[in-house]
């Protein structure tokens, strides 16, 4: 067997990380208000390729129209949020930089809420989410790039910009129509993957996939991001272009996730942290690992969210409840990590 190059995942890790999301997705297809056995799930999946197999139409409809789009969305959102979290952490050489802490999530939320208020269609909402997400990153960067630039000032700037956009979201809610728009915005802000069909996926998915593919292609170059300006320049890489591409990808992915399913917190902080503790700081392994674990984590959390209680639990509540203790245990064990 060929020995993996330094910083690359071992063959076993590669295989595990590649199949993990699909295994999670497969079991998630069977779990829910109506339990379907794995054999039936397999049958139903098979039947779309082979017309000889007959399945209960209700099972078929549940899997194809309800669960499958939702699970695909969960996979993509998990992947998108954890990759953008990873990109932001490296971009700002700051372990606390994530879509949430940089205010990107709040900015994108404001854009999306504004889109709903103005009656935009899904594309419009996504563009608005991306635009205000980008504005928020830019403002955070500006507010913390003064003389005493440090880890803390970036996070403080992010909190300020985040609360500014939260206030703007409140303003949007205040002016929204209390019968139709307000509930829609409120539910959506709590984060839910409920209202997904293949139509909304078609618009959001490409943005997340494009962002992920670009970041994957650039994965070795991303190692240069945490270096100081002069070191980065003197490595002969066009650091400005690299930063710009990374920031566009990360913001685009965050914006697309938020436009499709509202604000899902903490995935972007938790998953990259867990991967760094486990695999080190080399993006050759971090990018694929974050993508795989993020997607798997999201599918698991969403499955719990929709099947644990009779009513659906907002997903942000669960990501925090499940993620926080898990993260703390890992951090205490491994002693955290440095950038």
């Amino acid at each position: 067997m060929k020995k993996p190059l330094i910083g690359e995942l071992s063959l076993l890790s590669k295989i595990v990380l590649l199949i993990l999301p699909f295994i999670c997705a497969f079991f998630a297809l069977g779990i829910g208000r109506m339990n379907i056995s794995p054999a039936e799930v397999l049958n139903a999946l098979h039947s779309s390729f082979n017309s000889d197999i007959t399945v209960n139409p209700l099972t078929y409809a549940t899997i194809y129209n309800v669960r499958l789009p939702r699970i695909i969305l969960a996979l993509l959102v998990g992947l998108g949020l954890s990759l953008s979290g990873l990109a932001f952490q490296s971009l700002f050489a700051n372990p606390l930089a994530t879509p949430d802490t940089l205010g990107v999530a709040s900015g994108a939320s404001f854009g999306a809420a504004l889109g709903i208020l103005l009656g935009f269609n899904l594309i419009g909402i996504e563009i608005a989410a991306f635009f205000f997400g980008a504005v928020a990153v830019f403002l955070t960067y500006l507010s913390s790039s003064g003389k005493n630039r440090s880890t803390t000032s970036l996070v403080l700037g992010g909190i300020m910009i985040g609360s500014l956009f939260s206030a703007l979201v409140s303003l949007v809610k205040y002016t929204a129509d209390t019968d139709s728009q307000l509930p829609e915005i409120t539910y959506w802000l709590m984060g839910s993957l409920q209202q997904t069909g293949f139509d909304s996926l078609k618009i959001g998915a490409p943005l997340i996939i494009i962002g992920a593919v670009v970041l994957y292609a650039l994965r070795w170059r991303l190692n240069i991001l945490p270096l100081s300006d002069d070191e980065a320049k003197s490595s002969g890489v066009n650091i400005r272009t690299l930063r710009l591409i990374t920031i566009i990808c990360a913001t685009m992915m965050t914006g697309a996730c938020i436009a499709m399913c509202g604000q899902v917190g903490w995935v972007g902080l938790l998953i990259p942290h867990i991967c760094r503790m486990r695999f080190g700081n080399n993006h050759l392994s971090l990018v694929p690992a974050s993508a795989s674990l993020g997607a798997s984590f999201m599918v698991i959390v969403d499955t719990i969210a929709r099947s644990l209680l009779a009513a659906e639990i907002p997903i942000s509540i669960l990501t925090a409840i499940i993620g926080a203790p898990f993260f703390i245990i890992l951090m205490r064990k491994s002693g955290g990590w440095q950038l």
Partner: protein, 353 residues
């Protein structure tokens, strides 16, 4: 290879220039020490030289070409920069860190291949730090990290190495390791530039020096004639003596600081008189004979006598030259000779009345 600065000025603010009309040039095999007190702008000068900060006037030239017109990829294949170790991110393992230096040789979307990893192994071997393999950068001592950063710089195959205070914050032994590395690289034909606030290091390692004072005044020239007690007083505000320590094999020049001067700008040294001296050279490496001849040729106008003989039994060559010249010129020659590997040299001065 030739790296130059021509008539360049820089200031962070337009109305307040830190240095004006700077000129310097280095070519193959040169070691240039940029010397100055804390806060004089040594790092700033290096950054301007490499184009990391923009000159307000003038420019830096690589082989006669303005470096602003050279593509980043091309430029950083020829110049390698080793920043101060204290601000460096230590998130990576030693090999990953060294590999980052391959950036200028890889396409935007590619990743390092097996041959890049071989190069990393070679570099670690060349710098005698193979034992650091597999370690994480945050487990390294300051000296080890500095060596890893030098390896990272060399990974680009550049011929010009620029180091920012490579030996500050290091202990005796690690200072020596880093400085020896610089000397060894220069002997292999690389151009090395380093910042330092130790005049002794400049004297012992460099053939050219650039002294920067806090007010922005500077001097550039051969190290030995530039680093004088007077210039140290002016640049550092310190009265110092330049003395020599002799061992059976070699003479070592050292700078010993004596006291802080209250009025450094008006410090004057007694001028050097013309002196008569015999320089004895023992050459242990025949390959250096040509270098010695070239050097002596530059001083032929002062030469009075010359005698050479091989001593085959120990495979050494003994050269004795007598010359009459200003004392600083003699010191300059002795210094230049002492920088050659395996060459032992000493001057004996006559008392002239």
């Amino acid at each position: 290879m030739k790296l130059e600065i021509k008539d360049a000025s820089f200031g962070y603010r337009k109305d307040k220039l830190i240095f004006k009309n700077v000129n310097l040039s280095v070519t193959d095999g040169d070691v240039l020490a940029i010397l100055g007190p804390n806060g004089a702008g040594k790092t700033t000068l290096l950054k301007c030289l490499m184009g990391l900060l923009p000159w307000r006037q003038g420019a830096s030239y690589l082989n006669g070409v303005d470096i602003r017109t050279i593509s980043a990829k091309n430029l950083w294949q020829q110049i390698a920069y080793v920043p101060q170790a204290k601000g460096v991110s230590s998130a990576f393992s030693v090999e990953e860190m060294v590999l980052l230096g391959r950036g200028s040789h890889l396409n935007f979307f590619s990743k390092p291949q097996a041959k890049d990893f071989e190069l990393v192994d070679e570099l670690l071997e060349r710098l005698h730090i193979t034992k650091l393999k597999g370690k994480h950068c945050n487990q390294l001592s300051g000296g080890e990290l500095q060596m890893v950063l030098i390896a990272r710089a060399l990974a680009s195959n550049a011929q010009i190495l620029i180091l920012d205070e490579p030996e500050s914050n290091l202990d005796f032994k690690n200072q020596l390791i880093v400085l020896d590395t610089i000397s060894a690289l220069a002997a292999q034909g690389m151009i090395c530039l380093f910042n330092t606030h130790y005049p002794a290091h400049a004297l012992q390692r460099s053939n050219k020096a650039f002294i920067l004072s806090k007010g922005g005044e500077y001097q550039f020239g051969p190290t030995r004639s530039l680093i004088t007690e007077e210039n140290i007083a002016k640049a550092f505000g310190v009265k110092a003596v330049i003395g020599q320590v002799e061992t059976p094999g070699q003479m070592f020049t050292d700078v010993i600081p004596l006291s802080v001067l209250t009025d450094p700008l008006n410090y004057t040294d007694t001028p050097d008189k013309e002196a008569l001296a015999v320089i004895s050279i023992i050459n242990g490496d025949f390959a250096q004979a040509e270098n010695i001849n070239n050097l002596l040729h530059c001083y032929s106008e002062y030469l009075i006598g010359r005698m050479g003989m091989p001593y085959k039994e120990d495979n050494v060559y003994i050269i004795n030259i007598t010359l009459k010249a200003p004392k600083e010129r003699i010191e300059e020659l002795v210094h230049a000779l002492s920088l050659l590997p395996k060459v032992n040299v000493k001057a004996t001065y006559a008392t002239l009345t």
